[in-house]
Every structure is written in structure tokens, then in C-alpha cells.
């Protein structure tokens, strides 16, 4: 099941779908050629006409399917459709009374190539003509309706396949476009964020550096004080940069609690997580996150203090975290 899910999630299925649609579209006409030799009343020449006509129209038809399954209109599709129609209709008197089954490919190509309403009109006309034409070629009136049904069912199945492949392609294109837009927006946000926060701090550091350099000889004491301040400001900026970078990666509250429990347990504090069955929100406000981290840091520094229980409860839509370690209990309200 997992493997199947993985397959459906992968891009491979999107790439393979048009190939599958083309392969399925080729199967029916090829079976039709095989049968053309074996039907009662059909001779070798009938079969050969069927084979020749199929060899000419099938590549054109598969070309229509290939483009449509990739959500494109085939270039010069109108001309190839005209050629295909001419071949199929031209072969009708020569390729046996079951040849109108080949109209399946014709009506599918109509719908794939022609714009509405001409495509629907062509579809209806050809499907309606299939049974009378087959009858005129010698098929009994009892068998002719089945041929119409065969054309209808076959075309519906092939159209469904092509539509599915095209829908997958469009879906993937939409997903990629969304992802690209999200990346662009995120880049813009990070750029603005860095310019407004770290940018000004770095400018200040550069200015202080220049000032210290200019007074280094004349006022060494003041320059030394400036350099000390510069070092402190650089560290503050570095810490700020790290906070910013961390802020861009927001793990879920559950993952953070599980990691906290692992860290505390590794530090010799046997820690148990008690989470509500209904689940906890994924997001956590920076302030609540900071409080949780401060508590974890304090407990880690405190060393072995026996046991710790982190209990999450949901009350009136609010999530409360009770961190019970030794004799003390700390409550952190989690805001999303």
C-alpha cells in the first residue's frame, strides 16, 4: 500500500500516463485488424485493406492522443484529422462489415482535435452512422446496435484515459507553478527581513569599525573601547542571524516536544510525554516556543533531577503544557 502511494506521489506516474494512454489507444485498432481476418464473410483482401488503412490512420490518431494526454493541442491537428477521416471513411467499403469499429478512433480524435461544438457534432454523427453503415456492408440488424455500443464504450474508455493523463499533467504543472510562487514569496520575505534587521546591524558594525580605524592612532583608548563594543555588537548580530535562520524552520509542536523529551532523557532525566488523544496544534507562537526552550535549557543545566512529565491539555481551545520536574511544575500556554 505504501509502495503504491509512493508511486502515485511520484512524478513517474505523470510521465507514464500519456504513454499508457497511447498504448491503450493502439490496442483496440490492432485487435480490430486481427479480427478483420477472422470474421465470417471476410476474406484475406478485407483483412489486408484493414491492415493497410490502420497502418496509415493509427499513427495520426496516436499523435492526437499523445498531445492531448500531455494537455496540448497537436500542431496541424486539423490536417491530420482530415487525413485520418479520409483514410477511415475511404476504407469503409473495402475493410469489411466490422470496420466501422474503427470509428472509435475517429470520434476520439474528433473530440481531441476539433473545438466544441464541432467536435460534439462530429462525434454524434459518426456514432449514429456506425450501425447503418455496418448494416449496409452486410452486418445483420441484430448485430449492428452492438457495434454502436462498442464504438460508444470504446471511445468513452479512451477519452477517460486521455482526460486522466491530461488532468495529471495539468495538476503537476499547477503544483510546480504554486511551488515556484511560494519560493519566490519566501525569498522576497527573507530578503526584506534580512535587510530590515541584520542589514542595519551590519551597517552599524561597519561604521563603528571605520570610526575605530580612524581614531586608532590619535585616541587608542577610545579605539579600544570602540573595538570592544564592535565585538559585542558582532556577537549580538550573529545571535540575531541564528535566531532569524531558526525562525525560518518551524518544526511542529509535537516534534519539538518529542525532541525535548529525548534530550532530557539523554541528560539523565527520565521524561514522559503525555499528549491528548485529539492531537495538539502544529504551530506554536514564538513566545510560547521561547518559554518551552528556556524551560528545557534550565532542566538540562540542572542535571539529573529524577523524572519529568510534560503534559499537554486542551482547554477551551487553548493548549497548556505542564512541565513537572521534581517538585516544581511550570505551565506554558501555547498560542498558535
Amino acid at each position: 500500500m505504501g509502495g503504491l502511494t509512493e508511486l502515485w506521489r511520484s512524478d513517474r506516474v505523470v510521465r507514464l500516463a500519456p504513454v499508457g494512454a497511447v498504448a491503450c489507444s493502439a490496442v483496440l485498432p490492432l485487435v480490430q485488424v486481427g479480427l478483420a481476418f477472422s470474421y465470417v464473410g471476410n476474406g484475406v483482401s478485407t483483412g489486408l485493406w484493414s491492415l493497410a488503412a490502420t497502418a496509415v490512420y493509427l499513427p495520426l490518431h496516436l499523435r492526437h492522443v499523445w498531445y492531448a494526454a500531455r494537455a496540448h493541442r497537436p500542431p496541424l491537428g486539423g490536417w491530420s484529422l482530415v487525413a485520418m477521416t479520409a483514410v477511415i471513411l475511404g476504407a469503409t467499403p473495402l475493410a469489411g462489415n466490422m470496420w466501422p469499429r474503427a470509428y472509435t478512433a475517429l470520434v476520439v480524435s474528433f473530440l481531441l482535435v476539433l473545438p466544441a461544438p464541432w467536435s460534439y457534432l462530429g462525434y454524434v454523427v459518426v456514432v449514429a452512422a456506425a450501425a447503418p453503415v455496418a448494416h449496409a456492408l452486410g452486418l445483420s440488424w441484430t448485430a449492428a446496435p452492438w457495434l454502436t455500443f462498442s464504438v460508444l464504450g470504446g471511445s468513452a474508455a479512451l477519452l477517460l484515459l486521455v482526460w486522466l493523463a491530461a488532468a495529471l499533467t495539468r495538476l503537476q504543472a499547477a503544483r510546480e507553478a504554486l511551488a515556484q510562487r511560494a519560493v519566490m514569496q519566501e525569498r522576497r520575505r527573507i530578503d526584506d527581513d534580512l535587510r530590515h534587521s541584520l542589514g542595519s546591524a551590519l551597517e552599524s558594525i561597519a561604521a563603528r569599525g571605520d570610526r575605530a580605524a580612524s581614531i586608532a592612532k590619535s585616541e587608542p583608548a577610545a579605539a579600544a573601547a570602540d573595538l570592544t563594543g564592535l565585538a559585542q555588537e558582532s556577537r549580538r548580530t550573529l545571535a540575531e542571524a541564528r535566531r532569524r535562520v531558526r525562525g525560518y524552520r518551524q518544526p511542529s509542536l509535537r516534534a519539538e516536544l518529542e525532541t525535548a523529551a529525548s534530550l532530557l532523557t539523554a541528560a539523565g532525566i527520565a521524561t514522559r510525554l503525555d499528549l491528548p488523544h485529539g492531537g495538539i496544534p502544529d504551530t506554536i507562537a514564538p513566545r510560547s516556543r521561547g518559554a518551552l526552550r528556556a524551560t528545557v535549557t534550565r532542566l538540562l543545566r540542572a542535571g539529573p533531577i529524577g523524572t519529568c512529565t510534560i503534559t499537554a491539555t486542551v482547554l477551551d481551545g487553548r493548549v497548556l503544557l505542564d512541565v513537572r520536574a521534581g517538585d516544581s511544575t511550570e505551565t506554558i500556554e501555547v498560542r498558535a
Binding site: R235, L238, A239, R242, R246, R249, Q250, P251, A255, E256, E258, T259, A260, S262, L263, A266, A267, L292, R293, A294, V296, T297, L300, R301, A302, G303
Partner: protein
Amino acid sequence: MIRVLIAEDMHMIRSALVALLSLEDDMEVVAEIERGDEVVDAALRVRPDVAVLDIDMPGLDGLSAAEQLSAQLPDCRTLVLTGLSQPGNLLRALKAHARGFIVKDAPAQTLTDGIRRIAAGERVIDPELVAAALETGSSPLTARETEVLRAAASGIRTGQIATQLSLSQATVRNYLSNAISKVGGRNRIDAIRISRDAGWL
């Protein structure tokens, strides 16, 4: 007087650390080591109160050295110097009974204060490292998957990993496949990179 052992493979940094700690009245550097696999022998010889270990050293990494030191010389407390780039190492450090875990670019005062507090029995952990570790999360890999991925990271082939870990080649491939999937890598190189960056290897 706090007796300090320093293990750092980069000569200039090691010399700077020695010079820095020598300025402190209450500290004495009793050993300078440049390889991880020499830490335990040196510690057993000089019996330091605190061992300051760099996390990346030839021979044996600082965390493995801390683990061995804790087993063979429990009285010696270890302080591991690390970078922020591998936050998952905090969990390994705590499991290795390291008493201190601070970033290399912290001010000198943080290091000397840290050594004093560790010698006094406290634990010193940089809050920035705790925050980074919480964000990175625990390793999703099992012990065996970690072992197999670590072996793969050394560049040996699947057959050699199988021989080294007494597993069949198919099992090694399964472990690698699971590891790649769990860390969200595209292939084994990507999985090694992701796991190393997170400090899970």
C-alpha cells in the same frame, strides 16, 4: 586549581586555548592532545578534572572520546566544543555524558566560566544549541540504520558494509533505503549529507 586537558586537532586553536586558560589563576592545562584516540590514554595518565574536547578530531570524534572517557574515568568531566551547524550532536553529547556543550565562537569568558561551572558539578549548555537541537528534531533513524549509513559515509561498498556489520547485502540495502526515505534524501549521498548536517551521524 582546575586541571584541564585540551584535545583539539588544529594547532593554532589548541595553542590559543592553552594560552587563554593559562591566564586564569585557578586553571592549569595538564595535557594537550591533537587526536581523539589519544584522549583516554592521556586522561588516564594525567587525571584532569575537566577535558575540553573538540567535536571533530582525527582518530576518534570528540563525542565518542567523551563516551569512552566517561566509562574509564568517570571523575573527569567533559566539555565539548562544537559548531552550530550540527545541532543533532547535542543529543549524542548528552548520551555520551558530556557535562558541557558550547559553541566554538562563544566569547572566551563563556569557555572559562563553563570550565569552572563544570568542575563545580554543573552542566553547561549553550541555549542557542538547545534551540537549534529542538528545531532539528531527533534522528528518525534507528541505531542500525545509523550504523549502516555511517559505514556508507566512509565510502565503502555495500558488500563491504555487509561484511563489516555481519549483515547480508540485501539487508544493508534495505537499511539504506529506509534511511534515505526517513531523512527525505534523494539517494544515499543526499541522505548522508542531510544526516551529517543535522548531526545524526
